[in-house]
């Protein structure tokens, strides 16, 4: 911790920013939890259901999306796009999976699996101490003209770090940048979050604009519901995904 403080001091000095004026990374993350709902509210979460619209405006591609999470940290997300069909993905009992008409059923492994495991964690913002092994304040920056604190987060699962930006004034998260592992290779991804709205007592960014591989994709959340019952079957992967998972497991056991 001492060496971390030392390196942080050096970094901040290099930026010409007095270290004493800056909060710690822990404080920035804890503040985010407080301004978006409070630790107690997050701890009371048992399920989460999200609905919205996904759009690639420049290409005229649009679809509706729904997401589900439960306290066992299982997840299921589905997007239905005109002309593309259904794209499903989920995490259930150690299996991170995806199925679409375009690509067929697939089981995710390695860094890609680690990312989806993290994404599946219910109330993961409040549980950041369980999710990340190291959080570092890198200094200040501006995102779309808004002054932000810049944090580097190292996850417990996987090795890909995330750079996150939090607004100095509001405490809201403004941007997430990382390199995502995909079957096509490693792709830099940058998501900008805006239009925080209240859903069920939580302040949620209702607009997420993501840039990846030269494409821009936006998600607009229309509703979020919490602690509604979600049938366990919702999270169970399709039979062909399970069969592939068994095949992958058997192959890796050899």
């Amino acid at each position: 911790m001492r060496s971390l403080t030392l390196s942080l001091t050096l970094t901040l000095t290099a930026f010409g920013i007095p270290a004493a004026d800056l909060p710690t990374a822990d404080a920035v993350l804890d503040r985010y939890v407080e301004v978006t709902g409070g630790k107690a509210a997050y701890e009371g979460l048992k399920t989460e259901m999200t609905s919205g619209v996904m759009e690639m405006k420049a290409q005229g591609i649009k679809g509706k999306m729904n997401g589900f999470r439960n306290a066992q940290n299982f997840s299921y997300n589905v997007v239905e796009i005109d002309g593309v069909g259904k794209i499903e993905e989920g995490f259930h009992e150690g299996i991170a999976w995806e199925k679409s008409a375009m690509g067929g059923p697939r089981v995710k492994t390695g860094e890609e699996k680690a990312f989806y495991m993290r994404e599946a964690i219910l109330a993961r913002d409040a549980r950041w101490r369980d999710v990340y092994t190291k959080v570092e304040l890198m200094g200040e920056d501006t995102v779309d003209g808004v002054a932000c604190y810049k944090l580097l987060l190292t996850p417990k699962e996987g090795s890909r770090t995330e750079t996150q930006f939090f607004e100095k004034v509001t405490g809201y998260r403004k941007r997430i940048a990382m390199v995502m592992s995909t079957p096509m290779g490693d792709l830099p991804v940058e998501s900008t979050l805006s239009d925080y709205k209240e859903f069920g007592g939580f302040k949620i960014p209702s607009k997420v604009s993501t840039k990846m591989a030269g494409q821009e994709l936006s998600v607009t959340i229309s509703s979020m519901e919490f602690n509604k019952e979600i049938p366990a079957s919702r999270f169970v992967p399709p039979a062909d995904v399970k069969a592939i998972a068994a095949k992958v497991k058997a192959a890796s056991a050899k």
Binding site: I61, G85, A101, M102, G104, P183, G214, K247
Partner: protein, 431 residues
């Protein structure tokens, strides 16, 4: 590629309505087109020296001035197309929004004759007649030469194209599109076609135009297109599939999977043939997705897409049950884009043997966006290098077994390319 076809047809077929000088939106559209290429072209060094010797930066002012002085939006559009032509690449096109609206419901979609044309030498022949089509109804036969469609002298059309630009790489493709465009129109009407039959005698037919087989699909801003899928057994133990476009994943992939499933799980199937002749492409990811039915090795890819800042692999996702037997892919000069990626990739992986003639060499992945003036702008976003290290753009896929189409064979009701594939499969050991 269909958009390119429309662009070409637009310039050759349709007198565009004259209007006043280009409006503000068209000038803004010019800027968007120029800027998009400046920002997104995958190989910036290429922009330093275009086919006219100037750089992309240098031509900005001159083309902007030309567009501002253009007599009307149509001329401005032509100038933008000319500017894009300096890149010397496929998949860069401007399509009039008005034209799009005019063409989509009638000229292409509603009615077709069911004639599949092929260019043999300088003659355009009937290669195939779709069953239950208008052409089948009036007894048009494969091998007949198409002499005239309506008022258009088809031989002269071919000749003009050859003379206009002898260097054009995709001559066969453009000619085929030109013929197909003239063999389309409102469903329920007819088109007058003059043929020369096998004996060289003139045959005139009023060919009924009918809705093309299959379902109408669309993707993003691309106009609706019919998706036709055909599966048959040219021999009892050989499966054959043909589809006209790589779109509509739920519909196309479902049918494709069903076709493969009749060959897996111990079912009698010696070989599999995928006919990509005349297929203009579509979603590139569907090529690697289909390849997953024939490759059971993880971490295999068809090729790599090189964008300016990222590199993306076209990874094959092996399916649960794959077909391990001989796989033949049929191609021709009108096999474009995703068709070339699939054929070239599987050829490099030595998983498929390719039959037919060299493909179009227009294999760049592209986006289609709407411009401020309502026109559509198609632009390539990446270069594609096949797994064997080949750039398919401008080169195409060279078949393992080149098989030409002769008039005599077509008149005899033969498909020499298909027969060659069948014979090869027959010579392979059973899976």
């Amino acid at each position: 590629m269909r958009l390119l076809r429309r662009l070409w047809l637009a310039s050759s077929l349709l007198p565009l309505t004259l209007s006043a000088q280009p409006d503000r939106e068209t000038i803004d559209s010019f800027e968007k087109v120029w800027q998009t290429v400046q920002n997104r072209y995958w190989q910036p060094a290429h922009l330093d020296r275009l086919s006219n010797g100037q750089s992309w930066q240098q031509i900005h002012e001159s083309y902007r001035a030309k567009v501002e002085r253009a007599a009307d939006n149509a001329e401005a559009r032509r100038l933008m197309s000319e500017m894009l032509g300096l890149l010397g690449q496929s998949h860069f096109a401007i399509i009039s929004g008005q034209l799009e609206d005019d063409l989509a419901p009638s000229s292409f979609g509603d009615g077709t004759t069911g004639i599949e044309p092929v260019l043999v030498g300088s003659a355009v022949l009937v290669m195939r007649v779709e069953p239950q089509s208008g052409a089948a109804q009036v007894l048009v036969k494969p091998g007949w030469e198409i002499m005239r469609i309506g008022e258009t002298d088809v031989r002269a059309l071919a000749q003009r194209l050859l003379e206009k630009d002898p260097s054009v790489k995709q001559r066969n493709l453009l000619l085929r599109w030109g013929v197909l465009g003239r063999l389309s129109g409102p469903s329920g009407t007819t088109v007058r076609v003059e043929f020369a039959d096998g004996a060289g005698q003139k045959v005139i037919k009023q060919v009924p135009l009918k809705d093309p087989p299959g379902t109408r699909v669309r993707f993003g801003f691309m106009p609706p297109m019919p998706l036709a899928f055909r599966v048959m057994r040219p021999r009892p133990d050989i499966q054959y599939v043909r589809f006209n476009i790589f779109l509509d994943p739920p519909g196309l992939m479902g049918k494709f999977e069903d076709a493969v499933k009749t060959c897996t799980g111990g079912k009698s199937c010696h070989g599999f043939i995928i006919d990509l002749r005349g297929n203009p492409g579509g979603l590139a990811i569907l090529a690697s997705s289909m390849a997953g039915f024939f490759i059971d090795q993880a971490d295999t890819k068809l090729g790599t897409l090189y964008q300016r800042e990222v590199t993306m692999k076209l990874v094959v996702n092996p399916r649960l049950d794959t077909f391990a037997g001989p796989l033949a892919i049929l191609v021709d000069g009108a096999s474009v884009s995703t068709s070339e990626i699939m054929a070239g990739g599987l050829q490099d992986l030595k998983r498929a043997r390719i039959f037919g003639s060299r493909t179009a060499g227009a294999a760049l992945p592209s986006n289609v966006e709407r411009l401020p003036n309502g026109d559509l702008f198609q632009y390539a976003v990446a270069n594609y290098i096949s797994e064997g290290g080949q750039t398919l753009e401008g080169r195409g896929v060279i078949p393992d077994q080149e098989v030409g189409v002769s008039r005599a064979a077509l008149l005899a009701g033969q498909d020499p390319v298909l027969e060659a594939a069948i014979n090869w499969i027959r010579a392979q050991p059973h899976p």
